[in-house]
């Protein structure tokens, strides 16, 4: 447990939270690792876990009719993966697999929700950090969507 706490304290995501708060969250977490090529979750599968990547690269893919499986984004050290456990229908929106060996901290979604209900202040701290990541990522995805490198004839 204390090892996990040390790891969490060092992560930029938790900067600004009190030790007490981090300890509480640590109770829902555990260290996990995946081999290169492993599938972490598939589109449509039940969403329960969240991952904070410590090492390695994860690819998010979508299966399309015309183009096969397309990687739409990759996540790396320090990135958060997975929010679909927050809202119904609690199902993953894409596939996720490991481009390399991956070490991550896995958080139990429903457990995090229980903590937030019991301690709204802590719940707010978590939500604020999640939304910041989501907003930044959304802006980046918008730029990707613009297909800016294409030629116009």
């Amino acid at each position: 447990m204390s090892e996990l706490f040390e790891v969490l304290v060092g992560q930029p995501f938790f900067k600004g939270m009190t030790d007490e708060q981090i300890r509480t969250i640590a109770e829902t977490a555990r260290l996990v690792s995946f081999d290169e090529g492993s599938v972490i979750f598939v589109e449509g599968g039940p969403a329960r876990m969240s991952y904070l990547i410590l090492e390695g690269d994860i690819a998010l893919t979508l299966r399309t009719q015309e183009h096969g499986s397309k990687i739409i984004q990759t996540l790396h050290r320090g990135d958060f993966l997975g929010w679909s456990w927050m809202y119904p229908p609690y199902r993953w929106n894409f596939d996720s697999s490991c481009q390399s060996d991956v070490k991550a901290i896995q958080f139990d979604g429903p457990a995090l929700k229980k903590i937030a209900l019991a301690d709204p202040q802590l719940g707010y701290e978590m939500m604020r950090r999640f939304t910041e990541i989501i907003v930044t990522r959304m802006q980046a995805l918008r730029i990707q969507l613009l297909d800016v490198y294409s030629t116009f004839r």
Binding site: D57, I71, Q99, L141, I143, Q144, S150
Partner: protein, 282 residues
């Protein structure tokens, strides 16, 4: 009345000089690199500059010089075929002639980057006008601290200068980070916007210098990300693009506010532009 306006001899101002094509190489589906014999032995250029290339009787376009400034035996120009004139240029063969005027424009300020970390951020074909500064920095490597190239393209098949990127990757004195907007399962690298690479490189935000080139929206987003990382306006260089017809500040098309990008640019610092890039349709 005795008005005596200076008039550059026609040969220097608006008169294209015929230069022999040495080679034409296809880089991507619509992108080609021409190697052209320089008009004279004293011809040279600074990284970031461009020439006006003239296809006899068809037209003239501004094209970035994408070669090594230290190699004065040839002018290397990377062209994207997007219209009548560029189609004509990429259709030329070795031994044919192309009209050359220039070089024109401002350059990437490598002097300002000496003793500092250098970030080179390229998007799409924006890698072409940045390649000369990569050459220049690597040719004088000991003048700089950490050097990082961050390059984003549409897909793995759209990576420009792919073999050269591979070469640079093999070096220990430059960090090369590549990303694409989308890829299939065979791609083992990052997928996402080029700014996502910024967080993955270590640089000293207080002193680093950044050279950025790509589509304007990509540059705006990159500027925001780099500024969040501590790089101030005066250390952020961008290559702005506007319609250019003359290269010498005569035709008025390339104006961005008070600047004639053909001669006050294309390379400018964000400090010089003082927020112009955020104003709608300026």
């Amino acid at each position: 009345m005795s008005i005596q306006l200076s008039a550059e001899p026609i040969a220097h101002v608006m008169s294209p000089v015929p230069c022999r094509i040495l080679s034409v190489e296809q880089e991507l589906e619509d992108t080609y690199t021409l190697e052209v014999e320089p008009p004279g032995s004293d011809w040279g250029f600074l990284p970031g500059q461009y020439t006006m290339l003239y296809a006899f009787g068809i037209g003239e376009v501004p094209i970035s010089i994408s070669g090594d400034p230290a190699d004065t035996t040839k002018i290397v120009q990377t062209i994207r075929a997007v219209g009548a004139v560029t189609d004509a240029l990429v259709g030329l063969k070795p031994g044919d002639f192309v009209g050359v005027r220039g070089p024109f424009g401002t350059s990437w300020d490598t002097k300002a980057a000496e003793g500092r970390d250098v970030l080179i951020v390229a998007g799409g074909v924006g890698l072409a006008p940045l390649r000369p500064v990569i050459y220049d920095v690597l040719n004088n490597r000991d003048r700089y601290e950490n050097v990082t190239l961050m390059y984003g393209a549409r897909s793995p098949g759209d990576l420009l200068f792919a073999s050269q990127i591979h070469e640079w990757r093999g070096r220990f004195d430059i960090e090369v980070l590549i990303t694409v907007d989308q890829a299939d399962q065979n791609w083992r690298g990052p997928v996402g916007v080029v700014t996502s690479l910024v967080g993955r490189s270590s640089y000293d935000g207080d002193t680093a210098v950044a050279f950025v080139c790509g589509p304007e929206v990509m540059m705006r987003f990159t500027i925001q990300t780099l500024e969040r990382g501590g790089i101030t306006d005066d250390r952020l260089y961008v290559s702005m693009e506007r319609n250019m017809k003359c290269g010498i500040g005569l035709c008025g098309h390339c104006q961005l506010g008070k600047f004639f990008l053909c001669k006050d640019g294309p390379v400018m610092t964000c400090a010089q532009m003082a927020g112009s890039c955020w104003i709608r349709e300026v």
